[in-house]
């Protein structure tokens, strides 16, 4: 295959992935809306307290996911293992996400093959890789934790970024400039995108945590299959801690590369500054969870601010700030 066909195949795969992500997004959103309306119906049902008390008496072992394991509302099936069965919409959302992800990864790999190097040397390619990692982590996490309630957020987020990448960040395949010709491109940038993926999912959980905390403080019934705020916080923490380790590595590897390429390991270049700011915010997040009065919603806000700084670092700093990391290709 020639380079040109590979490049166009890659784009076709990405566009197809976007279409399938859009389908997944619709089903996940429908599923969420349905769960919300169930919760609303529960809240207005007069028999609520009796029903819940009965459930409480049975013990909270029916499902590991539910916070206050209420009984499935009428019309819901329960599997043999006692878990509330996923709705058809949620299952379709999952299937479409997996399909889209296969196309997404395929398109990204094709792009790398076409360029004869790793597919993360400019903003377009980095977006492809980082969003594929977000979905990848989302899918892998499903094996030990049901995160379907994040499906709408994750597919929506990735869809938006793929859209921006294909329309605004797109650049043709060009050879690497001398400064990027280093094995550190493979390591430093890939680990940075891993960190971005974990931070992104962690921040998503933190957003749900905030919403859930608000529901809980208002005494609203929990939405089916969405963990309680405390559990969400624990999940977010586990993902963010992994992201923080990757981010720390990114900083160190970047410094080593900067020493090779620019003659100094740290020079307060704009990108360096923002990578540092992100690192410090998430360090603050980890410390906040050990500080009295900062667990819970406050640390969740820090996680969201931290991921916003990641996005700012990737978009605004890349495009509008003057610095040495001017590899967007735009």
């Amino acid at each position: 295959m020639t380079q040109a066909t590979l490049v166009s195949d890659s784009l076709v795969a990405i566009y197809s992935a976007m279409f399938v992500y859009a389908l997944a997004f619709i089903f996940f959103t429908y599923d969420l809306a349905k769960r919300m309306s169930e919760a609303k119906a529960l809240a207005s049902a007069p028999a609520l307290e009796v029903v819940q008390a009965k459930a409480g008496g049975k013990g909270g072992t029916t499902t590991t996911v539910l916070d206050r394991p209420g009984p499935p509302p009428p019309g819901f099936e329960v599997t043999a293992s006692g878990k509330v069965k996923r709705s058809l919409a949620a299952r379709l959302g999952m299937v479409f996400t997996v399909m889209a992800w296969v196309l997404h990864v395929g398109g990204t790999v094709f792009r790398g093959v076409a360029a004869g190097r790793v597919p993360w040397a400019n903003m377009f390619e980095f977006t492809l890789t980082a969003t594929a990692i977000i979905i990848g982590v989302f899918l892998i996490t499903q094996f030990w934790q049901d995160l379907q309630f994040l499906g709408a957020y994750v597919t929506g987020f990735v869809l938006v970024f793929l859209g921006v990448a294909t329309t605004n960040f797109y650049v043709d395949v060009v050879p690497l400039p001398p400064a990027l010709q280093s094995y550190w491109l493979v390591i430093h940038v890939f680990v940075a995108s891993l960190g971005t993926g974990f931070y992104g999912l962690g921040a998503a959980l933190s957003i749900v945590q905030l919403l859930q905390a608000r529901r809980e403080s208002r005494g609203l019934p929990s939405v089916r299959a969405i963990p309680n705020a405390e559990r969400l916080e624990a999940l977010a923490y586990r993902l963010i801690v992994v992201g923080f380790v990757f981010w720390t590595f990114t900083l160190i590897a970047g410094s080593i590369w900067a020493e090779h390429a620019w003659g100094r390991y740290w020079g307060w270049d704009t990108k360096e500054v923002w990578t540092f700011i992100v690192w410090v915010i998430f360090a603050g997040y980890i410390h906040a969870r050990a500080t009295r009065g900062w667990r819970g919603s406050r640390s969740a806000i820090l996680a969201i601010v931290g991921f916003s700084a990641v996005l700012f670092n990737f978009t605004i700093v890349n495009l509008y700030f003057h610095g040495l990391h001017s590899y967007s290709g735009l």
Partner: protein, 558 residues
């Protein structure tokens, strides 16, 4: 990491001593009235008390967190405004564009954010807070390492992960064997075990978590100290070397140099680098990137005093390590070699003049100054086009369409007047202040500018002589650095990373196995306690309970 302790109620001690009164002091008149003596703060104790109070405040987790977030916040302005250290030209442009506003910024030190007083104050406070936390926690950890696990709690069923076996008939020997196997099992699982009262095993593991945590924070302090000390010894010099020329590493040979406080010019090792060849490679196959640079290689001959001369290669991502310095290839460009002759034909000037690249096609601008040898001092502003585009294609204004030397043209504007080189003041070799100079040839005067191709000679205006574009060579811009603490910083950074992983992912937990006897029967109880984040604790306890009960042939009670 700072520990979250509340400040003690160590309020400044007040003195109850009211001082001397009229009754006790005979020198005072009897009607003397002492105004009530205010309660006096005991200066010594109070001072220490305040110190302790502030120390506790500073090293509290809340303050540490606040300072940490403040560091992130304070780092932002330095990314919005160009910085003197990383982008000096940007600062000049910014100041020219915003004269009023930049005065305010300048007085706040925003153009040097990361060495400004306020930024330094925040991170120094943060690090003091950090040290104030590391020290007691290190002592506490050392003590914990020497202390055996605590006593088994009376009621394990209130602890996380509680499990119990079914009862079985047993005598004392059975129980002793059961506790013994519990000890062996826990020990082989990496726990430190203590057997209590012959009927329970108390175990703890994951001391490495706190060790890693401490190493992470101590290594951060190490980085700060290395950077702080290293800053005094670092020096960075720049030198432009045209191909064929040499550079000797002595202070006077640098185009520019910036040095730390303790830099001494004697510390420069006078090695010599001769640039023998420079090979740029431009993309020729991919039409989307036609003419883009894809490789730069500088070939140098390096001679260190007392050593054999060697041939070395410097590339963008592979600096040359020589004589305690690192030599980086950070820029390159073209240097037209011009020869100026006076009317009698005598050469008064011949040398390569490095021109600064203005775009990716190496349209380059440079300045040639001839202070001596001609009837008048002349200065010339030149543009060099490596591949001049034909006028039919690109219009009248000359432009370069490729960085290679395919169709090179040099154009010059000629000025005359006092070039300011005789006053002894240093003058930027790359710029020419034309305010007080008279334009002799070029745009804006009657005489057209000079234009020549390699090998061509043209006449200077006013019969001053001739100028020849003898040759065109490439030059390399070398950055030469000396940083003795770099290896220290790297070592500490690696420790930061290793400490972080162990501090975050090694679980610290306590596990208890207890034999509970009732009459002639016994059952075993299992429970754990997490110290720090430990989501897998119940699984770990269950695993131990399963193994232990299997060893004893007992079944778990549902």
């Amino acid at each position: 990491m700072a520990s979250d302790r509340r400040p003690s109620k160590n309020s400044p001690t007040r003195s109850a001593d009211a001082g001397t009164s009229a009754e006790t002091d005979p020198r005072r008149p009897s009607d003397h009235f002492d105004s009530p003596v205010p309660e006096v703060t005991n200066p010594r104790l109070g001072f220490v008390g305040y110190l302790r109070f502030f120390w506790r405040q500073l090293t509290s987790m809340r303050t540490a967190l606040f300072l940490l977030l403040l560091v992130a916040f304070a780092a932002v302005p330095g990314s919005l405004v160009p910085q003197t250290t990383s982008d000096p030209n940007g600062v000049i442009q910014y100041k020219a564009a915003n004269p009023g506003w930049s005065k305010v910024l300048d007085s706040l030190g925003v153009f040097n954010t990361y060495s400004s007083v306020w930024f330094s104050a925040i991170y120094i406070l943060l690090f003091i807070s950090l040290i104030g936390c590391i020290i007691p926690r290190t002592m506490h950890h050392v003590a914990a390492l020497r202390t055996p696990p605590p006593k088994t709690p009376a009621r394990l069923d209130r602890l996380p992960g509680f499990l119990r076996t079914a009862s079985a008939e047993a005598d004392d020997d059975h129980v002793a064997a059961g506790v013994n196997s519990a000890r062996e099992l826990l020990r082989s699982s990496g726990y430190r075990v203590r057997v209590l009262d012959g009927d329970s095993a108390s175990a703890e593991r994951g001391y490495l978590r706190e060790t890693g945590n401490l190493i992470f924070h101590i290594a951060l302090v190490g980085i700060l100290i290395s950077v702080g000390i290293g800053g005094g010894f670092i020096w960075t010099g720049q030198k432009v070397v045209p191909v064929g020329q040499s550079f000797v590493n002595t202070l006077s040979n640098y185009d520019s140099i910036s040095q730390g406080r303790w830099f001494s010019p004697d510390s420069l090792e006078p090695y010599k680098l001769t640039v023998t060849k420079f090979t740029p490679v431009y993309e020729r196959k991919n039409l989307n990137a036609y003419g883009e640079a894809i490789d730069y290689t500088a070939y140098v001959r390096a001679s260190v005093p007392g050593q054999k001369t060697t041939n070395e290669i410097i590339k963008v991502n592979s600096p040359l390590r020589i004589g305690d310095t690192d030599v980086y290839l950070l820029s390159n460009g073209v240097a037209p070699v011009v020869t100026v002759r006076n009317p009698a034909g005598k050469v008064v000037y011949t040398q390569p003049v490095p021109f600064l690249p203005q775009d990716a096609d190496l349209t380059s601008e440079g300045v040639i100054k001839i202070p001596d040898g001609l009837a008048k001092q002349i200065g010339m502003i030149g543009f060099f086009y490596p591949t001049e585009c034909s006028k039919a294609t690109c219009g009248a204004a000359p432009t370069s369409v490729d960085p290679s030397l395919t169709n090179p043209v040099l154009t010059l504007q000629v000025y005359t007047g006092d070039l300011g080189l005789n006053s002894g003041k240093p003058v930027n070799a790359y710029s020419l202040n034309t305010d007080k100079l008279k334009l002799l040839a070029g745009f804006g005067s009657k005489t057209p500018g000079l234009s020549m191709r390699p090998g061509q000679t043209v006449k200077l205006p006013d019969g001053l002589g001739t100028i020849e574009l003898t040759n065109v060579v490439r030059y390399v811009g070398l950055d030469i650095h000396h940083d003795p603490t770099q290896l220290w910083v790297l070592t500490f950074a690696v420790l930061v990373f290793l400490g972080l992983i162990t501090g975050l992912f090694i679980p610290r937990r306590r596990v208890w196995i207890k034999a509970v006897r009732r009459g002639g029967t016994v059952h075993y109880e299992y429970a754990g306690l997490a110290r720090g984040e430990d989501p897998r604790l119940p699984d770990a306890v269950a695993e131990i309970a399963k193994k232990h009960s299997q060893l004893l042939g007992l079944t778990m009670k549902p």
